[in-house]
Amino acid sequence: MSILESVELAVKNIVSSKTRTFLTMLDIIIGVAAVIVIVGLGNGLEQYVTDSFSGLGTNTLTVTVMSRGSTRTLSVDDMYAIVDENSQYLDLCSPTVTMPGMVKIGSETVSTTSVQGVSEDYLDIAGVTVSSGRRLQYSDMANREKVCVIGAYLDQAYYGGNAVGQTLRVGGQSLTIVGVLAQQDDTLEEGGSDDCLYLPYTTASRIAGDVSSYIVTMREEDYIDESVAALESALYEVFASDDYYTVTSMAEMLETMTSMINILVGVLAGIAAISLVVGGIGIMNIMLVSVTERTREIGIRKSLGAKERYIMEQFVIEAACTSALGGVIGILLGDGLSAVASTVVTRLMEETLTVAPTLSAVALAFGISVGIGILFGYLPAKKAARLNPIDALHYD
């Protein structure tokens, strides 16, 4: 009797009592589906975080200055000087003035656009090029020009692709559009990377106040610690205290966030996996009942020459098939739920977050459910195989 035939026999038995099989599998189905959705959600979250950081490469450091309360201040020129002095580690620098969404195009207010005051180097730091018109330049900073460059989304959505030379208003200030950035996302979306606007930081600080944060790039991504230390010691000299500034590395932040997400996913998946163990115990219970119910069948099979190994095999394979089937249903359910979750989360957060079940999570979930079937099917199978043929034959 081959394994294939044993599987056939097991499937026959499983199919002949559908309701019971389904109830047996329920915990496995729920557990597998939950594991898949949670791992998928974790992956989506990680992807989302990575995406939103990768706009500004992982070779960037962010400096935030909180000079309020300090008698000393850091001017933009001071900051540039610091970067110059540490040029063995540091490369480009741009002040960043983040402005609350308040773009007005004609009579229409656009609230999703990210608006930032930056230096002429910012586009290099962010790795963005201009597709039409020109970039921001040093003279724009020096003269506090009332100009801006906009993302491809605004260009397409509001100017039909002919934005250069037009004007819009930011915080009541009228700005002339001098350039349009090349498209960054696959599709142009409201609130996406292409829904952005950059103006000279000098102009921006007039509207939104002093520059308080900077983005600095490193020459070598491998020297994060040295670069951060260089910046920190220079800033310490300025403020004579470390209370008034923070230096964060994008790479470290990404790492921290990713590992936090991983821990969270691990914990949640672990909780979901408990349901798999509960499912295994459920299978064991049902199999024990089934062994009792089928005592006579076992007796008959033994009288006809079934060795203990065959009986054992039959029950273990049946348990494994039951949980494998539960695993497959759980995988399908998990995939379905992942798709639903993607839509729901995207809608609620107004951000694109894909709950993507990974192949490895699916394979693992399937493997674990089969393993659980074998593990928890073993005891009942052993019980069945050990039955005394005479007693089993006369059982009723």
């Binding site: 009797m1 035939e5 026959k12 038995n13 002949s16 006579r296 069948e297 007796g299 008959i300 099979r301 033994k302 009288s303 006809l304 020459g305 079934a306 060795k307 203990e308 190994r309 065959y310 043929p389 005479i390 034959l393």
Partner: protein, 247 residues
Amino acid sequence: MKALIEFQEVCKYYHMGDTTVVAADHISFQVYQGEFVAIVGQSGSGKSTCMNIIGCLDVPSEGTYLLDGRDVGQMNKNELAEIRNELLGFIFQQYNLLPKLNLLENVEVPLMYAGVPKKERRERAKVALEMVGLADKMKHRPNELSGGQQQRVSIARALVGEPSVILADEPTGALDSRTGREVLGILQELHAAGHTVVLITHDNSIAVQAQRIIRLEDGRVIYDGPADAPEAVVTPRAAGRFGGVPS
């Protein structure tokens, strides 16, 4: 000629707490190839005990049981299962068909455990069902059949592996007398065709259909001889009770 079944001083004890029940008490007999033997006796006389030992479902507590020259008492569970599969065909009182399988699949089971390939199994099971006249019902489930038909299926199942011994345990016990006679008829045909048949029954009128009778009482053989001898069907106890000469 070598005996197919040989009991040498076989004893079987059951221990129940402090007491020991002697279910088989130094039983010796031999069954040869092609014989039709009925083991008969009243309830509690030790028939099932003998049947379990002959059927390799159990082993003697003492003494030796040789089946086809092999000492069953020395075998492990696996070897016993193999022997049951190869040398024995069981026919039970309650038919003992597997309710979830159709007739063909039921008859295939012994061949499956013998490792016969699927196609050959199908063919041989079909032939066996034809022999008992149920080939047209082979896709039916056992519960769609009458008792007599089910018993015929179990006979087909007993025959399909071409065993050396056909062991029938009260095969007519659950049947009405007409179908019972039919089933007995089949056993007689099998005997006529050269099969060795061991029939276990408590019913004298059935036992006399065999060629030879082994009568048990209190775990002992009290008669072993031709079925048509007058003393074959009279127990000493009954004879005593009805005024016969006490043994």
